[in-house]
Subunit: 301 residues, 2 copies
């Protein structure tokens, strides 16, 4: 029997933890969501964020604009000292222009952890912003949510590196999820096969505790990687992706899909130990967690 894990149930536990931490803040967190353009399910995500914030006593203001006003909206929220955190809902242009906008957000308010300065710290496995190690770096919200779900599914070791010796396949190598996720998994001890249109890469654990992941081209096939994987994570935004079938999986594996498309066939049930069909409810909480961390950093770490 495959256990289906509802990310909303896992999120409920994190919500309680966050509520306790938020209670220590003297004034409420004030977050701004920027919704521009008409693409995709952004409005739904924004509604989730609004609800999650409301439940935690966080002020969340959703601001809507035509796409050409997104840049000015970001600059304005950057400049406003009353705004602690900014979420921008992509796609806006659905071209590389979106990456330009992503890097316009002040890293100190980038609660989604998408700015390239956060990515650089992540890839170097640097956990702190400062040499004195008083201000913690933040991690991108969706990869962080996925790691928390891997832990909740019981796939973390209690001692040592939590994914030591595990093999993981990740189908997606986007700059916002798949690539940082592969690096984070490797930093936690996993051997990761990362699949994307430009061929498989292997992310290997750092040889020493403070090092960064090692990267190599990999000749592995999808079939070989799936047969070897304890954990399979997908985020393929396409109807044309051949669904991952039960007979491709290793028995007892954990399957997680963070795409809004189906990436797994129904017959994984019975073969996989656990299936997490979506990640969104956890992502929102990781954004709030990042918001709290960035605010504490701003207050001096």
């Amino acid at each position: 029997m495959t256990v289906t894990i509802d990310p909303a149930a896992v999120a409920a536990r994190f919500r309680d933890e966050l509520r306790a931490q938020l209670a220590e803040e003297r004034t409420p967190l004030r977050l701004v969501g920027i919704l521009a353009g008409e693409h995709g399910p952004s409005h739904t995500y924004a509604t989730y964020a609004q609800r999650a914030c409301m439940e935690l006593g966080i002020h969340f203001e959703l601001r809507k604009f035509p796409r050409l006003e997104a840049e000015a909206a970001i600059r304005s929220a950057n400049a406003d000292p009353a705004v602690h955190g900014i979420m921008v809902y992509y796609p806006i242009f659905a071209t590389e222009h979106d990456a330009y906008l992503r890097d316009l957000v002040d890293p100190g308010k980038d609660i989604e952890g998408l700015h390239s300065s956060w990515a650089r710290l992540l890839y170097e496995n640097r956990r702190f912003v400062d040499a004195e190690k008083t201000r913690k770096a933040i991690l991108p919200c969706t990869p962080l949510a996925i790691l928390k779900l891997v832990e909740a599914a019981g796939f973390f070791h209690e001692r040592g590196r939590p994914l030591e010796g595990r093999t993981v396949s990740v189908f997606n190598r986007s700059e916002v999820v798949g690539r940082p996720l592969a690096s984070m998994l490797a930093h936690d001890g996993a051997h990761v096969y990362s699949f994307d249109v430009d061929g498989p890469l292997a992310f290997e654990p750092p040889p020493d505790a403070d090092g960064a992941h090692r990267l190599s081209e990999s000749p592995i096939t999808r079939a070989e990687a799936l047969a070897a994987s304890d954990i399979v994570i997908t985020g393929v935004p396409s109807k044309d992706f051949p669904l991952i079938r039960g007979d491709e999986l290793r028995a007892g594996s954990l399957c997680i899909n963070f795409s809004t498309y189906r990436n797994f066939a129904d017959d994984i049930s019975g073969k996989a130990a656990c299936f997490v069909p979506r990640v969104g409810p956890m992502t929102v909480l990781m954004v709030i967690r990042n918001a709290l961390r960035l605010r504490r950093n701003a207050q001096g770490g």
Copy 2:
């Protein structure tokens, strides 16, 4: 009769100017080209750069790597005080990973002018790096090369803003060429229609001399834009783009193609006043011009 302009002939004039400026330098410029991955005509471009540098007494070292070593190669060149400028040949991954690499190059050595910090100055129409206006900002090499070719074709006014009152259509809105080019044209006084997969935008001249271009969604069609344009610039990297035909053009217009694909039909001959079939030879010289400027900035402006 349509005059075909050979960019190499225009480049020859700039080479003489640059030679005179380079003669004032006490030690030769040292540039590094980073060639990684197997995509596209990068090796040819690198050879052009090598030849142009040799002719000008500039030291140019081409370094070749597997794609996974590009990042370390950029970091190493950034850190080496003996390297004045870095060119990276894209595509390397041909995914958004390339934009990550682009921003790893030290802006002070980014002689192609592709770093997002240069893009931000450009879009804000800020011509200097510093408030004291001693160190000039640099412009991205291909858009700059195109503007020099527009000037060489006789389409610049001698007084006031050089493109005041001109209408320009640009087919391409990439972050490295089409979008910065549209902004630069508007800063020079032109009304620009920018076409890309996500719909036409209008870039309008700033209302005052120090301001930035204004941007709006445009309902204009390709046919209307071409019929109104004094200058048509294309950079569509696709065989499927319907070639621009002579009957779509305004008589006496200037046509420039910076793509490696054909974007204009043969029958533009006779309708256009001038045709510039490629831009590459000018781009290389603009890179060298930027290298000189960045070195002078480093020496204190």
